[in-house]
């Protein structure tokens, strides 16, 4: 499959910190989840791919355009939808005005066409009824949907979403999952998140980052499979486990290297993620 985004050797330092370290990846249409602990470099990677930050080294293309050149950068931006982490809003704008404003900044200049498009994305994110309401009067979830609408306006081919479900209640998160799933139909979405559930439910691919490097790139099933035979149940917390916690049934769920004869459990994506991070930590320590 021809990748929408293809990056190789991306590196970026902030002072003495290596925020990105030789990151290479390929993104294809559908939703790709980007998992990693705080400080893993997820937001930095998203900002580089969204052309907000230049990398120190490495190269990448988006839909065949090289953002390393001014012209290529414009072409990438023309095809990009970006929802930053904790997006800002102009509170005295209405939802319609805010998305309209972003549409203009995306060089949608035909007023009639633009307004139809703004109405369409607001319908899509379920804000048709409140499009004339000032943003300061909208709830946090509604504001987040305004930001998603702004990212979707103009039918971008590549959508970058930086932790869009942070701070949303479960109902709002479910609603957002629907929206992201819809957005991923026929276009490439890179979704940064801490929620492994989101990845399990939405993503056809997943990338795990730690300490600025890609530690895993594959399908959610492949990530889950990493934990196969490494999750077991016990009546006490196993001191040899990388992680262990008491479940609702009163038994302990352990992740790591099981002792002989342990009662193995079906692994989850989260187990695979935890073990990947643990392996990465061991690698860094070594």
């Amino acid at each position: 499959m021809t990748p929408t985004v293809s990056a190789s050797g991306l590196s970026l330092r902030y002072g003495g910190t290596r925020a990105l370290d030789d990151v290479s990846l390929r993104l294809t249409p559908g939703v790709t989840g980007l998992l990693g602990p705080n400080g893993a470099g997820k937001t930095t990677l998203l900002r580089v791919l969204a052309t907000a930050l230049p990398a120190d080294r490495g190269a990448f293309t988006v839909l065949g355009h090289d953002p390393g050149t001014a012209r290529g950068r414009q072409e990438v931006r023309r095809r990009l939808g970006y929802l930053p982490q904790t997006p800002g809003f102009h509170p005295d704008f209405t939802a319609f005005e805010f998305v309209d404003y972003v549409a203009i900044l995306k060089e949608m200049t035909d007023r009639g066409v633009r307004h139809r498009e703004v109405r369409r994305v607001l319908d899509e994110v379920g804000l048709a009824d409140v499009r004339g309401k000032r943003i300061r009067k909208l709830s946090g979830g509604m504001r987040q949907r305004v930001a998603l609408g702004a990212a979707l306006v103009g039918e971008p081919g590549f959508l970058v979403l930086d932790e869009p479900t942070v701070g949303l209640d479960p109902e709002q998160r479910m609603r957002f999952r629907e929206l992201i799933a819809g957005a991923g139909e026929g276009r490439t979405v890179l979704l940064s998140t801490h929620q492994t559930e989101d990845v399990a439910m939405l993503c056809h691919r997943v990338i795990v980052m730690a300490a600025g490097r890609v530690r895993f790139e594959g399908t959610p099933a492949e990530l889950t499979a990493r934990a196969a035979g490494r999750v077991w149940s016990s009546t006490e917390r196993d001191p040899g486990a990388k992680a262990g916690w008491r479940t609702g049934t009163g038994t302990f769920r352990n992740v790591g290297a099981p002792p002989p004869g342990a009662e193995l459990l079906e692994p989850t994506l989260e187990d695979g993620y935890l073990l990947t991070l643990d392996d990465a930590g061991a690698e860094v320590a070594a």
Binding site: V102, T109, G186
Partner: protein, 504 residues
């Protein structure tokens, strides 16, 4: 192998970008709409329009001289300018204030293009102001009796003030990322305005957007001596400079912007230097001639035996003057009833608009001064001057009257008016209708004692026909020198006055 295809566009949606220029225009329209619907801007326009309408209603009796009416459009837009300054500053800072810059930085239109759009939104506010100014001036020009001509340079000052203020607010947003900076700029601007308005230095006061004149002297338009065109060039250059520097500060370091900034600076300098040149020797001579020898630049017409000499722009006003002369003469008795006069328009132009316009009384027989303003109080004042000449023979003699001749004089001046008492109030300096007072006229005033006022009031209380008949019957005695108010009352068969009969 599969091929990556972008998601098909929704039906009816065309996602072809229009390019940065079209996007800047689209954004300018967006920002213009927001700017013009900001509450401070709406309030400022409402106050501006309300004040203009109120002022137009109050000045119903005045006949406009368009060379003054153009300047009257300059002050109120300053209020709009202040509102635009604050609003544009806030708009330009909103991305930083609300942390949307991280998001907008990856969109197609760069920061400097957004600054251009803000600048164009200020142009929209200036255009709306221009429409208001055109309406205000057009209203004056269409009023009956309007004379003279306005200056495009003067009319541009209001819109250019709004443009200058808004672009100053925009530049301030680029230089200081705090919303407190713009209000401080407003305070500083008001301080500068107060400081330079108070100075008599001609060069420095022209650095301000609107240059206010201290007096209301109306001059022929060719004697104004205000470098309105140069001033408009200076303001336009300064506004352009501020706007283009704001674009440069925002990152728009393009050759065209740099060249434009250099051109705008040159415009500012040329306008600034040219406007501070002062009065030319030719203008000084022309003003001297208009003041001392107005007959050299005036044309005269004859109406019913009297002659009316006016500066060229005031030709259409002769009919109004002649109507007053006819009414005054119709009330006079004796030879004054048939006396022809020469009405001479005069102006004190030697000190320009800053002169106080005081004119000395004429000594040539039967020659009456009329000023350059008309309507309202100027009508009974001229009427008093005509009456003075009919009774005393010349203006100088009339201003020296210190006896009961003032009674028939004032009867002639106000007796023909539809509301004689109102005319009397308006022609007296203190707006009184009792006691002693100074009576205003185009040259020096006349003095009325309390007793004379009493007799005149009693005369005005009579039916107009009866009062006129009594004055005409006793015309010779009433217009003789050294007659007291008491004697005049007796001659007119009116009660003797109680008040003092001593000139001021």
């Amino acid at each position: 192998m599969t091929t990556v295809v972008e998601k098909p566009l929704a039906p009816g949606i065309r996602n072809e970008p229009g390019g940065p220029s079209k996007a800047v225009l689209a954004l300018a329209l967006f920002e213009s709409r927001r700017l013009l619907t900001r509450i401070p801007v709406l309030l400022a326009f409402a106050v501006y329009l309300g004040w203009t309408v109120w002022r137009a209603g109050r000045a119903w009796g005045d006949y406009p001289a368009l060379q003054d009416a153009d300047r009257a459009t300059q002050n109120a837009p300053m209020l709009v300018g202040l509102a635009v300054l604050l609003s544009v500053n806030q708009a330009a800072l909103r991305s930083r204030r609300h942390d949307t810059e991280r998001h907008f930085a990856v969109l197609l239109l760069p920061h400097w293009c957004r600054t251009v759009a803000h600048a164009l939104s200020v142009v929209a506010a200036a255009l709306v102001t221009a429409v208001c100014v055109a309406g205000q001036f057009g209203w004056e020009a269409l009023r009956p009796g309007a004379i003279g001509q306005g200056s495009v340079g003067e009319l541009l000052v209001g819109p250019l003030t709004v443009l200058l203020s808004g672009l100053a607010g925009l530049l301030m947003a680029g230089l200081v990322r705090s919303v407190i900076a713009a209000p401080l700029l407003v305070v500083f601007g008001l301080f500068l305005f107060a400081f330079f308005s108070g100075t008599s230095d001609d060069a420095s006061r022209w650095l301000l957007p609107a240059v206010v004149e201290a007096t209301s002297n109306t001059l022929p338009s060719d004697l104004m001596g205000r470098p309105a065109g140069w001033h408009a060039l200076y303001l336009a250059g300064l506004a352009l400079t501020l706007g283009l520097v704001a674009v440069l500060v925002a990152g728009g370091r393009k050759p065209a912007v740099l060249a434009g900034t250099a051109g705008a600076l040159a415009m500012t300098l040329v306008g600034g230097v040219a406007q501070s040149g002062g009065d030319s020797p030719q203008l000084v001579k022309a003003r001297e001639r208009a003041t001392v020898h107005p007959e050299q630049v005036q044309s005269c017409v004859r109406r019913d035996g009297s002659t009316y000499c006016a500066f060229p722009e005031w030709g259409p006003r002769v009919g109004d003057w002649a109507a007053v002369v006819d009414r005054v003469r119709s009330l006079a008795g004796g030879g004054a009833h048939e006396q022809d006069v020469v009405v001479r328009q005069r102006v004190e132009a030697r000190y320009g608009l800053s002169g106080d316009g005081a004119l000395t009384p004429l000594e040539r027989p039967h020659e009456v001064t009329v000023g350059t303003q008309w309507g309202g109080n100027r009508v009974p004042e001229f009427s008093a001057a005509v009456a003075g000449v009919l009774i005393a023979g010349d203006e100088k003699a009339a201003t020296s009257i210190c006896d009961a001749r003032i009674i028939p004089l004032m009867w002639l001046a106000v007796g023909w008016a539809s509301e004689p008492l109102d005319a009397l109030r308006r022609v007296r300096l203190d707006d009184s209708i009792t006691g002693s007072a100074l009576v205003l006229q185009p040259t020096d005033g006349l003095s009325m004692t309390a007793a004379q006022t009493e007799v005149l009031r009693a005369l005005l209380d009579l039916p107009r026909g009866e009062a006129g008949a009594r004055v005409k019957d006793r015309w010779r005695e009433l217009t003789a020198p050294k007659v007291t108010a008491a004697r005049a009352a007796a001659l007119l068969d009116l009660p003797a006055p109680d008040g003092e009969d001593k000139c001021l």
